[in-house]
């Protein structure tokens, strides 16, 4: 029978004898675990930020832009050709089963005036489904209705930044502001959404019914023309399908032949997929960093094995004495395994503390967001324990195979 508490006590005593050596051996594990924790924290932080960004622009999002025009051989940029209409938006809503919401957009920049305050901002003409598309909520007041859109009502929703600039702390709902000198009633205030992935202030915006934007603010060269159509797919799985359906529907509607190499007069951009690709690459980066950090943990483990081998040699006589008075194979093995385990576990705990502190320092100095997940702590702790047992086993095995007579004679 093996007496674990006594064995642990014996191991602690053996480790205390060579304090410096034990501390240096632990250092390998401390650095390894600390590095793993810090690297995982940096990676997790980056991923979490991307996740938040995806959530902030709205999930499962596809953007349809008008195509380009060519003028005397010079190709102008996307959106220069005005080919998308309200009808296209309605058709997408009706005929693409993978699509949940569609919001046509007709926007521009305008000077906005309230009392003695004025502010220049992006005015977006759209429908009420825009809020569903972008997972955006109203913090006070209401959104516009289909009636508002149909009748080109002069109502608007303010982003938080616009409200702050025009109204300060007071509630804008019910007030009348002038956009390009046209009076609009503020009917709602949008919740704050913060920065976009590109660093733009998403709250610096005014939403008006698209018809109002077309008829009263920016005009439309072709009746019903829109600048962009925002599309939200049913789910992440439906994203690809939605993209394909929108593509083929618009080709059909715009009479773009399949056979000829005719260029699309629109562009479909899958925003969410772009973000997800970014998230994926961050995930890979996290794994890579973690793997590199694990190498140092491995090196720490080899350090433990090295010291345990030295320890076994130094204590050959002690092992001989223990064997002579009745220590069995596993008594000896367990003694050295527990010693290695204590080294690696204490190192692991210290490493976790260092890693947590380290990731805080990184986020402080580099300004990256770092997240120490409980899982990574558990993982690092478990891994250091495993390292102790794994690298402690061989020295322990070697010790247990000593011949007691030889060991007793060892000087």
């Amino acid at each position: 029978m093996i007496n674990i508490p006594s064995t642990i006590k014996i191991s602690f005593r053996a480790l205390r004898v060579n304090k410096m050596r034990s501390a240096l051996t632990m250092l390998g594990i401390i650095i390894g675990v600390g590095a793993v924790i810090t690297m995982l924290a940096v990676g997790t932080g980056a991923r979490q930020r991307i996740g938040e960004q995806i959530a902030s622009i709205g999930s499962n999002l596809i953007m349809v832009l008008p195509g380009t025009t060519t003028s005397g051989g010079v190709r102008l940029g996307a959106g220069t050709q005005q080919t998308l209409t309200m009808k296209d938006a309605e058709a997408i809503q009706k005929e693409c089963p993978a699509v949940a919401y569609v919001a046509p957009v007709h926007n521009g920049t305008a000077q906005v005036i309230y009392g003695n305050q004025n502010w220049s901002t992006a005015v977006t003409g759209t429908t009420s489904s825009m809020l569903s598309v972008r997972d955006w909520a109203i913090s006070s007041g209401r959104s516009f209705t289909e009636d508002d859109v149909r009748s080109a009502a002069k109502v608007c929703l303010l982003g938080q930044t616009v409200s702050d600039n025009l109204f300060g702390d007071s509630n804008p709902v019910g007030q009348i502001i002038r956009i390009r000198k046209v009076p609009f009633t503020v009917i709602g205030l949008l919740e704050s959404k913060g920065q976009s992935p590109m660093g733009q202030d998403q709250d610096d915006v005014i939403y008006v019914p698209i018809t109002t934007a077309q008829k009263k603010l920016f005009g439309a060269p072709i009746p019903g023309m829109v600048r962009t159509i925002m599309v939200k797919a049913n789910s992440n799985e439906d994203l690809q399908a939605a993209e394909a359906q929108v593509n083929s529907l618009l080709r059909q509607r715009h009479r773009i032949g399949l056979g000829q190499r005719q260029e699309d007069d629109f562009t479909v951009r899958n925003l969410t997929q772009m973000m997800q690709a970014q998230e994926q690459s961050t995930k890979v980066m996290t794994l890579l960093l973690g793997a590199i950090a694990s190498v140092s943990l491995l090196v720490g483990g080899i350090g433990i094995m090295n010291i345990m081998l030295v320890s076994v040699t130094e204590r050959t006589r002690e092992i001989g004495i223990r064997m002579a008075i009745g220590a069995k194979t596993w008594d000896i093995r367990l003694q050295f395994i527990i010693e290695a385990l204590i080294l690696s576990m204490i190192g692991g705990i210290a490493g976790i503390l260092i890693g947590v502190t380290g990731s805080q320092i990184v986020s402080l100095l580099a300004g990256w967001s770092t997240v120490v997940s409980p899982l990574s702590i558990l993982l690092a702790f478990g891994f250091s324990g495993f390292v102790g047992i794994f690298f402690g086993f061989y020295p322990a095995y070697k010790a247990s195979l000593l011949d007691p007579i030889e060991a007793l004679r060892y000087e």
Binding site: M1, N3, R13, G320, R322, A324, I325, G326, T329, I405
Partner: protein
């Protein structure tokens, strides 16, 4: 049935091409309660003999029966259990664990026997009392004299109630007066507790404490008989 029955024990070491017979057909029977001195020049095979008696080594051929058990067929862990239960070792160099208190040294055999901590402590205290070291339980080996260290080692050999104590030149590192004290302790244990004492010695004075002397030469017993009255 004898306590120890060694029957035609041979131990052969292979040194390169040559086979070296450390022991050659040694047969001996030892009864419970005997006090034996094993003597002989170095290289005579007495150490090999003691190692086999102590179950630290196995004979190449022949039978060694200890309290009815044929030791030759046992594996490492079974031999360890026999050493733990039936044999107490006392060495010339004491072989105590350094940096470990006297009482913990004495507790060690019971640790490997799986006794609970409280019982270990009680028995170790008792054993230290028998060898006359009460009050020195917490002393470390380097805080004890040679004679005291050897007493700790004897207490360790006693503590599991082993019927046999094997002592390999137990007085080799001690001065004459201390040697006599240690030998008197062996005599007392042999007389009062009926413990079988088998000791290796070079010195006639020490061997004189025994009642039976076995002489080895060239791997064989050359003389086995009652001690000459000194």
């Amino acid at each position: 049935m004898s306590l120890i029955e060694a029957d035609e024990i041979t131990k052969t070491y292979r040194l390169g091409e040559i086979d070296l017979n450390a022991l050659n057909n040694v047969s001996v029977a030892i009864e419970r309660g005997e006090f034996i001195a094993v003597m002989g020049p170095s290289g005579s095979g007495k150490s090999t003999f003691m190692n086999i008696l102590g179950c630290l080594d196995k004979p190449t051929s022949g039978r060694y029966i200890l309290e009815g058990t044929d030791v030759a067929n046992l594996d490492r862990d079974e031999l360890a259990a026999i050493r733990n239960k039936k044999i107490g070792f006392v060495f010339q160099g004491f072989n105590l664990l350094s940096r470990t208190s006297a009482i913990e040294n004495v507790e060690l055999p019971m640790l490997y026997d799986g006794l609970p901590a409280k019982e270990r402590r009680e028995k170790a205290m008792h054993a230290l009392g028998i060898v006359g070291l009460s009050g020195r339980e917490e002393h470390r080996p380097n805080q004890l004299s040679g004679g005291q260290q050897q007493r700790v080692a004897i207490a360790r050999a006693l503590v599991n109630n082993a019927p046999i104590i094997l002592a390999d030149e137990p007085t080799g590192n001690l001065d004459t007066r201390t040697s006599i004290e240690i030998m008197e302790l062996f005599v007392r244990l042999n007389r009062d507790s009926n413990i079988t004492v088998i000791l290796v010695t070079h010195e006639k004075d020490i061997a004189a404490f025994s009642r039976r002397q076995i002489f080895f030469r060239d791997g064989a017993i050359v003389c086995d008989g009652a001690a000459a009255v000194s």
